[in-house]
């Protein structure tokens, strides 16, 4: 019997119960972000590294996101969003680690690696991603790697030592869900072969709750999303939806669904029918 959805599972040296990873970008206000994170019941939130605001002219400095995240509650997962080369991704990861070490936050140990190919589609660059993964592992990071849904790249990333492979369901922010379930299935087959607890997290593309459920029903260990919540008309409610969607998908995966048939069999018994016809 696999773990039940109430049990905790591991991602590298971390252990969580919630299988939902939520990004902190694009919320209209910090309050909406906070209530969305709460409703999502996530334990891990992603953040990005950016140049600080140099408001040395006395202008008000905008709030820092750290002022709005309960660091006792959430594990910070820094990403390398915005990086188009392995080099920049490594710089970004090291800066994140430095920040999180200063905060004595356990998120210092890991990083969500993104090496994007261009701003047009935000698709990951497989070569740069492989390169950066290797460098970051050498630097001691636990690397969670955002990648496309190619099973071969996924397998290679795991072989290099990635802590988790995070195949995309669809392009970032597209809202298209899991476009190629066959590829995700083969990724899972490769990555969990002889290693069923290896964590595979579907990252990117989620548009609505059923996308999350479908990803989890395929056997993913978790889902990472941001725009699907932040861009909804009611982000906090959609966050709650995503919480339930994760639970639904995981439980359904564990429950052994019925088979599919063109048509099937009655739910009520035939025996004892009063029908004379």
């Amino acid at each position: 019997m696999p773990n039940t959805s109430n049990d905790s599972y591991k991602v590298g040296s971390f252990s969580f119960k919630s299988r939902l990873f939520v990004g902190t970008g694009k919320y209209e206000t910090n309050e909406i972000m906070k209530s969305s994170l709460e409703q999502s019941r996530c334990e891990v939130v992603t953040v990005a590294v950016r140049r600080d605001c140099l408001a040395d002219n006395g202008a008000a400095r905008p709030d820092n996101i750290l002022d709005h995240l309960d660091l006792d509650r959430y594990t910070i997962l820094p990403n390398t969003a915005g990086c188009f080369t392995a080099k920049d991704a490594v710089r970004s990861a090291r800066l994140s680690r430095e920040l999180l070490e200063g905060l004595e936050n356990p998120g210092a140990r890991w990083v969500k690696l993104e090496v994007l190919a261009d701003k047009k589609t935000l698709l990951p660059d497989p070569v740069g991603t492989l390169d950066a993964t290797e460098q970051l592992i050498d630097l001691g990071f636990e690397v969670l790697v955002y990648t496309n849904d190619d099973p071969i790249t996924a397998k290679r990333l795991k072989e290099m030592g990635a802590t988790s492979v995070m195949p995309a369901g669809a392009p970032i922010g597209s809202g298209l869900g899991v476009l190629n379930a066959n590829n995700i299935r083969i990724c899972l087959e490769y990555l969990k072969d002889g290693d069923p607890d290896y964590p595979v997290i579907v990252d990117a593309g989620v548009g609505t709750a059923s996308d999350v459920t479908i990803a989890m029903e395929l056997g993913a260990d978790g889902v990472l999303l941001n725009t699907g919540i932040a861009g909804a008309a009611n982000p906090a409610r959609m966050a709650e939806a995503m919480h339930h969607a994760i639970e639904a998908g995981r439980l359904a995966y564990e429950s052994g669904r019925i088979g599919k048939k063109a048509y099937a069999t009655a739910s009520s018994p035939w025996e004892g029918c009063i029908a004379v016809s």
Binding site: T24, R50, D56, N64, N79, L99
Partner: protein
């Protein structure tokens, strides 16, 4: 105000003049930034927080001071 010799550096892509001998810690103070909330690179090399006080900025240095923002 600035009496001593100065140098030209880039901080987060902006050109700035600093008094020679300025350390990273000095710079953060000038910018009213809490060391605990930032990470710093000079010429693409990480400057660890414990060395902010001792790291003297050089003329022409390209300095990045970063923090966390929302991201997915």
């Amino acid at each position: 105000m600035e009496k001593g010799p100065t140098m030209q550096v880039a901080v987060n892509g902006q050109e700035r003049q600093l008094v020679s001998g300025t350390t990273v810690a000095d710079l953060l103070r000038q910018l009213d930034l809490q060391p605990i909330r930032v990470a710093v690179e000079i010429n693409m090399n990480l400057v660890t927080r414990s060395t902010f006080d001792n790291t003297v900025i050089s003329d022409g240095d390209r300095i990045e001071i970063v923090t966390f923002v929302g991201g997915g």
